[in-house]
Amino acid sequence: MRENTIRYSIWSVLAMLLLVAAVKRENHFGRTNKTLGDTLDWPKSFGFGKKASAKQIAAWDIDISPDGKGLPAGEGNVSRGREIYALKCAACHGATGTEGPNDRLVAAPDSAGKSSGARRIKSIGNYWPYATTVFDYIRRAMPFNQPGSLTDQEVYSITAFLLNANGLWDDKNTLNAKNLPKVKMPAQDKFVPDDRIDGPEIK
């Protein structure tokens, strides 16, 4: 038994040597497949994953930029928005968007400097720098218990209602992809990029 094992091992080693020789010979004649090599150098591409189809990207690409890029077709109006708000938003944000219990949505623009305790009252009218963000956020995440359930038209209407409640939109106008990015938000000028730097300064 042991003898057999040894004999078998010898044959295995011989076979391996022949194989190595064959591979070396192949290399010698320039038919090396370099991707089989061990290396610390990275290939230009690993080739993992697959190309994302336009359809797949479109299904997930729901973000809306401040310039309105990404806004869908359709339109909404304040009165329709008021109805939807009462039905789907008021329970968390209050009848007029000021009562809570969750985030306050409505405040007069001049209340930005007023404090509630040490924290400022933050609402769409006095703190949100871009109107497009209102649409983006409602569409992706609201209502909290049914996220992503609103139609584009409904989102336009709720956005119109909230902008109107904050004194930023006329209740006679319909809101759409063209005019939403043009709404000038009072807080926009207050935003500054982070200016803290490494080192001892406290900012």
Binding site: F46, F48, S65, K122, F191, V192, D195, G199
Partner: protein, 414 residues
């Protein structure tokens, strides 16, 4: 030599049966009959196996999962939107994964790893979709670093706050995954791209804009945490991890990355994770977490005795390594340099210690972190002065503890 585990197991059963038949022992192993009539052993938990003399009762057999001692009950402190790490109950610098703080905006989603996909598109040569298995095939990296919510501060007047309440929105793990730069290289990010959007696959479909530079610098798409798959609360099956930066930007349950030449101005980075500073301005994209430290022992609710006390705590900085931690035991009148525990890692929690002989007189103890850039953790009043009297995100004041004559330790604002 040929003994198999099965045989060991059956031997174990025989012994157990004898014990049971003799009525000799409180059962540590019970026999359960399967439908086929085959007996197998079911382990009792340690709690069920409690005995006055553990040397007189067989212990619990090997199990499929380890357990925490029944005597140890560290728990997170949850609210509606977050859950805080019990810093005062921990040792060293790694946060046990089940005690890592939580902060999410639409609850923890259940994501099937087999269906998980990450789409990366926008200003890239090759828009791609990667499965979890794809991500795991790329060259990997591991890194120990802290994660901290930028809203990590709470104070009170009655002093009854633990480190968990004050700053329990910080935790540390060893994160493993693929460098984002590796993925950027694979898809060919345009040299003109300056920002990318990171989007989560949770109910909030949470989004943040992140500078492309950070993506090339040290960002990770993490699929593992402390040696196992990332926990659901931390972004299973894959999350973005941005060392040293405010936690909100390290988007969990990462499903999409879009390269662009401008920030997207999402709700989180406009109406939420921004802070009012001096002059009524609102500071935006304040990613870096400033240096901070906290004494975790002694801290509320501990009560100490006069004599030798090892003051222990943790320090961290989003700007680099901790250079020094200073401790004061006389209400900030004088400071001494604490001992730091190696290894001192970049953008990682570092443990510090300081021996103190308390004479029993009421006093205040406190610590302040100094990082390698020279930043010194400020007092609360310094921060308020620098920010025009406003509180808000990125609040990292020195935390003081008032030690009463009876040894009771209470939080004190600085």
């Amino acid at each position: 030599m040929n003994t198999t585990n099965d045989k060991n197991d059956s031997a174990g059963i025989r012994i157990s049966r004898r014990n049971l038949l003799a009525g000799a022992a409180a059962a540590t192993v019970v026999l359960v009959q399967t439908a086929q009539g085959k007996a197998f052993q079911a382990a009792l938990t340690q709690a069920e196996n409690m005995s006055d003399d553990p040397t007189k009762v067989p212990g619990v057999p090997p199990g499929t999962l380890g357990t925490r001692s029944a005597f140890e009950k560290p728990v997170k402190a949850p609210s509606d939107t977050s859950s805080r790490t019990p810093l005062q109950d921990l040792y060293g610098t790694i946060t046990p994964s089940d005690l890592h703080y939580e902060r999410h905006h639409g609850g923890v989603p259940a994501i099937d790893p087999a269906k998980y996909e990450l789409v990366i598109h926008g200003m890239v040569d090759k828009p791609m979709v990667f499965t979890l298995a794809d991500l795991k095939r790329f060259p990997s990296v591991s890194r120990t670093a802290f994660l901290e919510c930028s809203g990590n501060y709470r104070g009170s007047n009655d002093g009854k706050l633990r480190p968990q309440e004050i700053c329990g929105l910080v935790s540390q793990s060893e994160w493993t995954g693929v460098k984002l730069s590796t993925i950027f290289r694979e898809v060919g990010v345009s040299p003109k791209a300056s920002w990318f959007l990171a989007e989560g696959g949770d109910a909030a479909v949470m989004t943040r804009s992140v500078p492309v530079k950070k993506g090339f610098d040290d960002a990770i798409i993490a699929y593992a945490q402390n040696g196992e798959a990332v926990r659901p609360e931390q972004g299973y099956p894959a999350r973005l991890f941005l060392p040293g930066w405010e936690g909100n930007a390290s988007v969990k349950w990462l499903r999409r990355i879009e390269l662009s030449d401008a920030p997207f101005m999402t709700r989180e980075e406009t109406s939420k994770y921004t802070e009012t500073v001096a002059g009524g301005k609102i500071r935006q994209f304040s990613f870096t977490m400033d240096a901070r430290s906290v004494i975790t022992y002694p801290s509320y609710p501990a009560k100490v005795e006069a004599g030798w006390i090892e003051i222990r705590g943790i320090a961290w900085s989003g700007r680099g390594k901790i250079a020094r931690v200073e401790v004061s035991t006389d209400a900030g009148k004088s400071w001494k340099t604490a001992a730091l525990q190696e290894p001192i890692l970049d953008k990682a929690i570092t443990a510090f210690r300081h021996l103190w002989q308390w004479d029993g007189n009421p006093t205040e103890i406190m610590s302040r972190a100094v990082d390698e850039t020279g930043y010194v953790q400020p007092f609360l009043k310094q921060l308020l002065a620098a920010r025009g009297g406003n509180m808000g995100y990125h609040f990292n004041p020195i935390t003081a503890w008032y030690v009463q004559k009876d040894g009771q330790v209470l939080f004190k604002a600085t």
